[in-house]
Protein backbone atom coordinates (compact mmCIF):
# COMPACT_ATOMS: atom_id res chain seq x y z
CA UNK A 1 0.00 0.00 0.00
CA UNK A 2 1.29 3.41 -0.92
CA UNK A 3 -0.30 6.86 -0.64
CA UNK A 4 0.47 9.75 -2.87
CA UNK A 5 -1.00 13.22 -2.51
CA UNK A 6 -0.38 15.93 -5.07
CA UNK A 7 -1.07 19.64 -4.87
CA UNK A 8 -3.92 19.28 -2.41
CA UNK A 9 -5.96 22.26 -1.46
CA UNK A 10 -9.14 22.38 0.57
CA UNK A 11 -11.74 25.07 1.00
CA UNK A 12 -13.79 25.39 4.18
CA UNK A 13 -16.39 27.99 4.93
CA UNK A 14 -15.50 29.74 1.67
CA UNK A 15 -11.81 30.09 2.52
CA UNK A 16 -8.79 28.13 1.27
CA UNK A 17 -7.43 26.42 4.37
CA UNK A 18 -4.24 25.16 2.73
CA UNK A 19 -3.04 24.73 -0.80
CA UNK A 20 -0.43 22.85 -2.72
CA UNK A 21 0.27 20.21 -0.14
CA UNK A 22 1.86 17.03 -1.41
CA UNK A 23 3.52 13.94 0.02
CA UNK A 24 4.16 10.31 -0.80
CA UNK A 25 4.20 7.56 1.76
CA UNK A 26 5.32 4.01 1.06
CA UNK A 27 4.31 1.00 3.11
CA UNK A 28 5.68 1.26 6.65
CA UNK A 29 6.17 5.02 6.48
CA UNK A 30 4.51 7.58 8.66
CA UNK A 31 3.83 11.28 8.54
CA UNK A 32 3.34 13.70 11.39
CA UNK A 33 1.34 16.81 10.58
CA UNK A 34 2.16 19.76 12.78
CA UNK A 35 1.29 23.41 12.84
CA UNK A 36 -0.42 26.00 14.99
CA UNK A 37 -4.12 25.87 15.84
CA UNK A 38 -6.24 26.40 12.79
CA UNK A 39 -3.46 25.56 10.34
CA UNK A 40 -5.53 22.80 8.80
CA UNK A 41 -4.23 19.58 10.34
CA UNK A 42 -7.67 18.12 11.02
CA UNK A 43 -8.86 19.38 7.66
CA UNK A 44 -6.05 17.53 5.91
CA UNK A 45 -6.78 14.27 7.69
CA UNK A 46 -10.48 14.46 6.89
CA UNK A 47 -9.68 15.21 3.26
CA UNK A 48 -7.41 12.17 3.08
CA UNK A 49 -10.14 10.02 4.61
CA UNK A 50 -12.50 11.23 1.91
CA UNK A 51 -14.69 13.08 4.39
CA UNK A 52 -14.06 16.49 2.83
CA UNK A 53 -14.05 17.33 -0.85
CA UNK A 54 -10.77 18.55 -2.34
CA UNK A 55 -10.76 21.96 -3.96
CA UNK A 56 -7.94 20.76 -6.16
CA UNK A 57 -5.22 18.11 -6.29
CA UNK A 58 -5.49 14.36 -6.06
CA UNK A 59 -4.86 11.57 -3.63
CA UNK A 60 -3.93 8.19 -4.99
CA UNK A 61 -3.53 4.81 -3.43
CA UNK A 62 -1.48 2.16 -5.12
CA UNK A 63 -2.03 -0.64 -5.88
CA UNK A 64 -4.99 1.21 -7.36
CA UNK A 65 -8.21 0.24 -5.67
CA UNK A 66 -11.71 0.51 -7.04
CA UNK A 67 -13.37 0.93 -3.64
CA UNK A 68 -13.79 4.43 -2.20
CA UNK A 69 -10.80 5.71 -0.27
CA UNK A 70 -12.63 5.65 3.07
CA UNK A 71 -12.49 1.87 3.01
CA UNK A 72 -8.75 1.81 3.38
CA UNK A 73 -8.48 4.33 6.18
CA UNK A 74 -9.11 4.33 9.87
CA UNK A 75 -10.04 7.87 10.87
CA UNK A 76 -9.95 8.70 14.60
CA UNK A 77 -10.98 12.31 14.99
CA UNK A 78 -11.71 14.69 17.84
CA UNK A 79 -15.11 13.05 18.44
CA UNK A 80 -15.13 9.57 19.90
CA UNK A 81 -18.16 8.16 18.04
CA UNK A 82 -19.31 6.23 21.11
CA UNK A 83 -22.98 5.89 21.99
CA UNK A 84 -23.34 6.63 25.70
CA UNK A 85 -26.01 3.99 26.26
CA UNK A 86 -24.03 1.15 24.73
CA UNK A 87 -21.22 -0.60 26.54
CA UNK A 88 -17.65 -0.21 25.34
CA UNK A 89 -17.78 -3.74 23.95
CA UNK A 90 -21.02 -3.11 22.08
CA UNK A 91 -19.70 0.10 20.60
CA UNK A 92 -16.46 -1.40 19.36
CA UNK A 93 -18.10 -4.63 18.17
CA UNK A 94 -20.55 -2.59 16.13
CA UNK A 95 -17.86 -0.61 14.39
CA UNK A 96 -15.84 -3.75 13.84
CA UNK A 97 -18.77 -5.30 11.98
CA UNK A 98 -19.54 -2.07 10.14
CA UNK A 99 -16.01 -1.37 9.00
CA UNK A 100 -14.98 -4.91 8.16
CA UNK A 101 -13.95 -5.42 4.57
CA UNK A 102 -13.11 -8.41 2.38
CA UNK A 103 -15.19 -10.80 4.41
CA UNK A 104 -12.91 -10.50 7.44
CA UNK A 105 -15.62 -9.94 9.98
CA UNK A 106 -14.02 -9.65 13.44
CA UNK A 107 -15.24 -12.08 16.06
CA UNK A 108 -16.27 -11.18 19.59
CA UNK A 109 -12.99 -12.57 20.85
CA UNK A 110 -11.07 -10.22 18.56
CA UNK A 111 -13.02 -7.25 19.86
CA UNK A 112 -12.35 -8.37 23.41
CA UNK A 113 -8.68 -8.65 22.60
CA UNK A 114 -8.65 -5.16 21.12
CA UNK A 115 -10.26 -3.70 24.23
CA UNK A 116 -7.90 -5.64 26.45
CA UNK A 117 -4.91 -4.39 24.48
CA UNK A 118 -5.93 -0.84 25.43
CA UNK A 119 -6.45 -1.80 29.04
CA UNK A 120 -10.23 -1.72 28.95
CA UNK A 121 -10.89 -5.41 29.66
CA UNK A 122 -12.35 -4.74 33.07
CA UNK A 123 -14.76 -2.04 31.95
CA UNK A 124 -15.76 -3.48 28.61
CA UNK A 125 -19.30 -4.01 29.88
CA UNK A 126 -19.81 -0.53 31.28
CA UNK A 127 -22.04 1.89 29.35
CA UNK A 128 -19.82 4.50 27.75
CA UNK A 129 -21.69 7.29 29.56
CA UNK A 130 -19.82 6.14 32.65
CA UNK A 131 -16.34 6.29 31.20
CA UNK A 132 -13.82 9.02 31.87
CA UNK A 133 -12.40 11.11 29.03
CA UNK A 134 -9.32 8.94 28.64
CA UNK A 135 -11.28 5.71 28.84
CA UNK A 136 -13.56 6.93 26.04
CA UNK A 137 -10.57 7.85 23.96
CA UNK A 138 -9.09 4.40 24.45
CA UNK A 139 -12.36 2.76 23.44
CA UNK A 140 -12.30 4.85 20.25
CA UNK A 141 -8.69 3.86 19.56
CA UNK A 142 -9.39 0.17 20.04
CA UNK A 143 -11.22 0.28 16.69
CA UNK A 144 -7.76 0.51 15.11
CA UNK A 145 -6.87 -3.03 16.05
CA UNK A 146 -10.34 -4.57 16.09
CA UNK A 147 -10.48 -4.15 12.29
CA UNK A 148 -7.49 -4.06 10.01
CA UNK A 149 -7.15 -1.09 7.69
CA UNK A 150 -3.82 -0.17 6.12
CA UNK A 151 -3.91 3.61 6.64
CA UNK A 152 -4.35 5.13 10.07
CA UNK A 153 -5.41 8.78 10.25
CA UNK A 154 -5.06 9.93 13.83
CA UNK A 155 -6.06 13.41 14.99
CA UNK A 156 -4.16 14.28 18.16
CA UNK A 157 -4.07 10.66 19.26
CA UNK A 158 -2.37 11.23 22.62
CA UNK A 159 -5.05 13.59 23.92
CA UNK A 160 -6.56 12.57 27.26
CA UNK A 161 -4.42 9.42 27.53
CA UNK A 162 -2.39 8.71 30.66
CA UNK A 163 1.26 7.82 30.20
CA UNK A 164 0.69 4.05 30.29
CA UNK A 165 -1.87 4.29 27.51
CA UNK A 166 0.37 6.60 25.52
CA UNK A 167 3.04 3.93 25.56
CA UNK A 168 0.54 1.30 24.46
CA UNK A 169 -0.63 3.45 21.58
CA UNK A 170 2.92 4.16 20.44
CA UNK A 171 3.64 0.42 20.52
CA UNK A 172 0.57 -0.19 18.38
CA UNK A 173 1.68 2.39 15.86
CA UNK A 174 5.16 0.88 15.67
CA UNK A 175 3.70 -2.57 15.14
CA UNK A 176 1.36 -1.29 12.45
CA UNK A 177 4.23 0.37 10.62
CA UNK A 178 6.38 -2.73 10.88
CA UNK A 179 3.62 -4.73 9.20
CA UNK A 180 3.64 -2.33 6.28
CA UNK A 181 0.86 -0.03 7.41
CA UNK A 182 0.84 3.74 7.08
CA UNK A 183 0.24 6.24 9.87
CA UNK A 184 -0.62 9.90 9.40
CA UNK A 185 -1.05 11.76 12.66
CA UNK A 186 -1.78 15.37 13.52
CA UNK A 187 -0.25 16.40 16.78
CA UNK A 188 1.02 19.21 19.00
CA UNK A 189 2.92 16.93 21.37
CA UNK A 190 6.05 15.21 20.04
CA UNK A 191 5.16 11.80 18.63
CA UNK A 192 8.20 9.49 18.61
CA UNK A 193 7.34 7.19 15.73
CA UNK A 194 10.27 8.16 13.53
CA UNK A 195 7.97 9.92 11.14
CA UNK A 196 8.52 12.50 8.49
CA UNK A 197 7.05 15.86 9.41
CA UNK A 198 4.70 18.02 7.42
CA UNK A 199 4.52 21.45 8.99
CA UNK A 200 1.46 23.41 8.00
CA UNK A 201 1.71 27.14 8.25
CA UNK A 202 -1.06 29.09 9.87
CA UNK A 203 -3.60 30.04 7.24
CA UNK A 204 -3.27 33.71 8.09
CA UNK A 205 0.40 33.75 7.29
CA UNK A 206 -0.10 31.78 4.11
Amino acid sequence: MQVEAQALSVERGGRIVFSDIGFRLAAGESLVVTGPNGAGKSTLLRAIAGLLPLASGRIELSPAADAPRGEFCHYVGHADALKPSLTAFENVAFFAALLATHGRRPTGAQVDAALARLGLAAIADLPCAYLSAGQKRRAALSRLIAVFRPIWLLDEPLTALDSASQTILLDLMHAHLKEGGIVIAATHAPLPIGARELALKSARAA
Binding site: L51, A67, D80, A81, S85, L98, L99, A100
Partner: protein, 223 residues
Protein backbone atom coordinates in the same frame (compact mmCIF):
# COMPACT_ATOMS: atom_id res chain seq x y z
CA UNK B 1 -15.79 -7.55 -0.50
CA UNK B 2 -19.51 -7.95 -0.30
CA UNK B 3 -19.66 -10.93 2.06
CA UNK B 4 -19.46 -8.57 4.99
CA UNK B 5 -22.38 -6.47 3.78
CA UNK B 6 -25.20 -8.42 5.44
CA UNK B 7 -23.34 -8.63 8.72
CA UNK B 8 -22.54 -4.90 8.68
CA UNK B 9 -26.17 -3.99 8.07
CA UNK B 10 -27.36 -6.48 10.64
CA UNK B 11 -24.95 -5.00 13.19
CA UNK B 12 -26.35 -1.54 12.46
CA UNK B 13 -29.92 -2.75 12.91
CA UNK B 14 -29.11 -4.46 16.18
CA UNK B 15 -27.26 -1.45 17.46
CA UNK B 16 -30.08 0.97 16.72
CA UNK B 17 -32.66 -1.35 18.24
CA UNK B 18 -30.52 -1.80 21.35
CA UNK B 19 -30.06 1.93 21.78
CA UNK B 20 -33.79 2.44 21.29
CA UNK B 21 -34.58 -0.16 23.90
CA UNK B 22 -32.01 1.10 26.41
CA UNK B 23 -33.13 4.67 26.16
CA UNK B 24 -36.40 4.19 27.90
CA UNK B 25 -37.97 1.58 25.70
CA UNK B 26 -38.92 3.70 22.74
CA UNK B 27 -41.54 1.16 21.72
CA UNK B 28 -43.63 1.40 24.86
CA UNK B 29 -43.06 5.14 25.06
CA UNK B 30 -44.37 5.54 21.54
CA UNK B 31 -47.58 3.82 22.50
CA UNK B 32 -48.06 5.95 25.56
CA UNK B 33 -47.46 9.07 23.51
CA UNK B 34 -50.04 7.91 21.00
CA UNK B 35 -52.41 7.28 23.85
CA UNK B 36 -51.91 10.81 25.15
CA UNK B 37 -52.66 12.32 21.78
CA UNK B 38 -55.76 10.23 21.29
CA UNK B 39 -56.94 11.25 24.73
CA UNK B 40 -56.30 14.92 24.15
CA UNK B 41 -58.24 15.20 20.95
CA UNK B 42 -61.71 14.27 22.19
CA UNK B 43 -61.13 16.69 24.97
CA UNK B 44 -60.35 19.50 22.62
CA UNK B 45 -63.26 18.61 20.39
CA UNK B 46 -65.78 17.73 23.03
CA UNK B 47 -67.33 14.44 24.11
CA UNK B 48 -69.48 13.87 21.03
CA UNK B 49 -69.06 10.19 20.24
CA UNK B 50 -70.68 10.32 16.80
CA UNK B 51 -68.35 13.12 15.69
CA UNK B 52 -65.42 11.34 17.28
CA UNK B 53 -66.00 8.09 15.47
CA UNK B 54 -66.40 9.96 12.23
CA UNK B 55 -63.05 11.71 12.49
CA UNK B 56 -61.45 8.84 14.43
CA UNK B 57 -59.35 7.50 11.53
CA UNK B 58 -58.08 11.01 10.87
CA UNK B 59 -57.09 11.45 14.50
CA UNK B 60 -55.26 8.13 14.53
CA UNK B 61 -53.44 9.06 11.36
CA UNK B 62 -52.41 12.48 12.59
CA UNK B 63 -51.23 10.95 15.84
CA UNK B 64 -49.17 8.42 13.90
CA UNK B 65 -47.67 11.16 11.76
CA UNK B 66 -46.65 13.23 14.75
CA UNK B 67 -45.35 10.29 16.74
CA UNK B 68 -43.21 9.37 13.75
CA UNK B 69 -41.89 12.91 13.45
CA UNK B 70 -41.13 13.46 17.09
CA UNK B 71 -37.98 11.36 17.28
CA UNK B 72 -36.98 11.59 13.67
CA UNK B 73 -34.97 14.80 13.70
CA UNK B 74 -32.23 13.09 15.68
CA UNK B 75 -32.02 10.10 13.31
CA UNK B 76 -28.84 11.32 11.63
CA UNK B 77 -28.10 14.40 13.73
CA UNK B 78 -27.12 12.30 16.73
CA UNK B 79 -24.76 10.31 14.51
CA UNK B 80 -23.25 13.48 13.09
CA UNK B 81 -22.70 15.12 16.46
CA UNK B 82 -20.74 12.30 18.02
CA UNK B 83 -18.69 11.50 14.92
CA UNK B 84 -20.38 8.19 14.10
CA UNK B 85 -21.51 9.53 10.74
CA UNK B 86 -17.89 9.77 9.57
CA UNK B 87 -17.51 6.08 10.25
CA UNK B 88 -20.82 5.15 8.64
CA UNK B 89 -19.55 6.94 5.56
CA UNK B 90 -16.28 4.98 5.64
CA UNK B 91 -18.06 1.64 5.70
CA UNK B 92 -18.01 -0.47 2.58
CA UNK B 93 -21.79 -0.83 2.87
CA UNK B 94 -23.53 1.57 0.46
CA UNK B 95 -24.91 4.63 2.23
CA UNK B 96 -28.33 4.04 0.68
CA UNK B 97 -28.62 0.70 2.45
CA UNK B 98 -27.38 2.22 5.67
CA UNK B 99 -30.14 4.82 5.45
CA UNK B 100 -32.67 2.09 4.74
CA UNK B 101 -31.58 0.05 7.74
CA UNK B 102 -31.71 3.05 10.02
CA UNK B 103 -35.23 3.76 8.79
CA UNK B 104 -36.19 0.14 9.39
CA UNK B 105 -34.91 0.34 12.96
CA UNK B 106 -36.76 3.59 13.54
CA UNK B 107 -39.97 2.13 12.17
CA UNK B 108 -39.66 -1.04 14.23
CA UNK B 109 -39.19 1.09 17.32
CA UNK B 110 -41.91 3.69 16.80
CA UNK B 111 -44.07 2.86 13.79
CA UNK B 112 -44.79 -0.80 14.31
CA UNK B 113 -45.91 -0.51 17.94
CA UNK B 114 -48.31 2.25 16.89
CA UNK B 115 -49.74 0.07 14.14
CA UNK B 116 -50.18 -2.85 16.51
CA UNK B 117 -51.83 -0.67 19.12
CA UNK B 118 -54.05 1.25 16.73
CA UNK B 119 -57.09 -1.08 16.98
CA UNK B 120 -57.17 -0.56 20.72
CA UNK B 121 -57.11 3.20 20.37
CA UNK B 122 -59.66 2.95 17.61
CA UNK B 123 -61.97 1.24 20.06
CA UNK B 124 -61.53 4.12 22.48
CA UNK B 125 -62.62 6.51 19.76
CA UNK B 126 -65.68 4.39 19.03
CA UNK B 127 -64.67 3.04 15.62
CA UNK B 128 -66.52 -0.02 14.28
CA UNK B 129 -64.79 -3.22 13.19
CA UNK B 130 -64.57 -2.23 9.57
CA UNK B 131 -62.98 1.09 10.34
CA UNK B 132 -60.59 -0.59 12.78
CA UNK B 133 -59.36 -2.97 10.13
CA UNK B 134 -59.06 -0.12 7.65
CA UNK B 135 -56.99 1.97 10.04
CA UNK B 136 -54.77 -0.98 10.90
CA UNK B 137 -54.00 -1.93 7.32
CA UNK B 138 -53.56 1.62 6.09
CA UNK B 139 -51.22 2.47 8.97
CA UNK B 140 -49.25 -0.71 8.34
CA UNK B 141 -48.54 0.43 4.82
CA UNK B 142 -48.45 4.15 5.51
CA UNK B 143 -46.18 4.52 8.52
CA UNK B 144 -43.10 3.11 6.76
CA UNK B 145 -43.72 5.65 4.03
CA UNK B 146 -43.86 8.42 6.64
CA UNK B 147 -40.60 7.24 8.18
CA UNK B 148 -38.89 7.13 4.81
CA UNK B 149 -40.09 10.60 3.87
CA UNK B 150 -39.03 11.84 7.29
CA UNK B 151 -35.57 10.42 6.73
CA UNK B 152 -35.07 12.72 3.74
CA UNK B 153 -35.78 15.71 5.95
CA UNK B 154 -33.59 14.33 8.72
CA UNK B 155 -30.72 14.00 6.29
CA UNK B 156 -31.26 17.48 4.89
CA UNK B 157 -31.17 19.06 8.30
CA UNK B 158 -28.32 16.99 9.67
CA UNK B 159 -25.80 19.75 9.57
CA UNK B 160 -28.07 22.25 11.29
CA UNK B 161 -27.93 22.24 15.07
CA UNK B 162 -31.69 22.25 15.62
CA UNK B 163 -33.47 20.80 12.66
CA UNK B 164 -36.70 19.82 14.42
CA UNK B 165 -39.02 22.46 13.06
CA UNK B 166 -37.30 22.81 9.71
CA UNK B 167 -37.55 19.07 9.32
CA UNK B 168 -41.27 19.23 9.97
CA UNK B 169 -41.69 21.92 7.37
CA UNK B 170 -39.84 20.00 4.72
CA UNK B 171 -41.62 16.82 5.56
CA UNK B 172 -45.23 17.75 6.15
CA UNK B 173 -45.93 18.84 2.57
CA UNK B 174 -44.43 15.62 1.29
CA UNK B 175 -46.43 13.55 3.70
CA UNK B 176 -49.75 15.19 2.89
CA UNK B 177 -50.47 12.77 0.01
CA UNK B 178 -49.73 9.79 2.24
CA UNK B 179 -52.05 11.21 4.87
CA UNK B 180 -54.87 11.90 2.43
CA UNK B 181 -54.93 8.45 0.90
CA UNK B 182 -54.27 6.76 4.21
CA UNK B 183 -57.27 8.41 5.81
CA UNK B 184 -59.35 7.85 2.70
CA UNK B 185 -58.56 4.15 2.77
CA UNK B 186 -59.14 3.93 6.50
CA UNK B 187 -62.47 5.70 6.52
CA UNK B 188 -63.64 4.05 3.28
CA UNK B 189 -65.17 7.33 2.27
CA UNK B 190 -64.32 6.56 -1.35
CA UNK B 191 -64.19 2.79 -1.04
CA UNK B 192 -61.19 0.93 0.25
CA UNK B 193 -59.36 -0.53 -2.72
CA UNK B 194 -58.63 2.59 -4.75
CA UNK B 195 -57.05 4.86 -2.12
CA UNK B 196 -55.31 1.86 -0.59
CA UNK B 197 -53.65 1.01 -3.87
CA UNK B 198 -52.48 4.58 -4.23
CA UNK B 199 -51.17 4.46 -0.67
CA UNK B 200 -49.22 1.32 -1.52
CA UNK B 201 -47.87 3.08 -4.57
CA UNK B 202 -46.74 6.02 -2.45
CA UNK B 203 -45.08 3.69 0.03
CA UNK B 204 -43.22 1.91 -2.76
CA UNK B 205 -42.18 5.19 -4.23
CA UNK B 206 -40.86 6.26 -0.84
CA UNK B 207 -38.97 3.01 -0.56
CA UNK B 208 -37.42 3.51 -3.97
CA UNK B 209 -36.59 7.20 -3.72
CA UNK B 210 -36.00 8.11 -0.10
CA UNK B 211 -32.78 6.14 0.49
CA UNK B 212 -31.15 7.77 -2.52
CA UNK B 213 -32.34 11.26 -1.66
CA UNK B 214 -31.32 10.91 1.99
CA UNK B 215 -27.93 9.41 1.14
CA UNK B 216 -27.21 12.19 -1.33
CA UNK B 217 -28.16 14.79 1.27
CA UNK B 218 -25.91 13.15 3.84
CA UNK B 219 -22.95 13.03 1.47
CA UNK B 220 -23.33 16.72 0.77
CA UNK B 221 -23.84 17.87 4.34
CA UNK B 222 -20.75 16.21 5.74
CA UNK B 223 -17.82 18.50 6.40
Amino acid sequence: MKETLPSALFALLTRDLTIGRRIGGAASLGIVFFLCLVAITPFAIGPDLALLSRIGPAILWIAALLATLLGLDRLFQAEAEDGSLDLLLSSSAPLELIVLVKCLAHWLLTGLPLVVASPLFGLMLGLDTHALAGVFVSLLVGTPALTLIGAIGAALTVSLRRGGLLLAILILPLSIPVLIFGVAAASRAAGFAMPFLILCGLALMGLALAPFAAAAALRHSIE
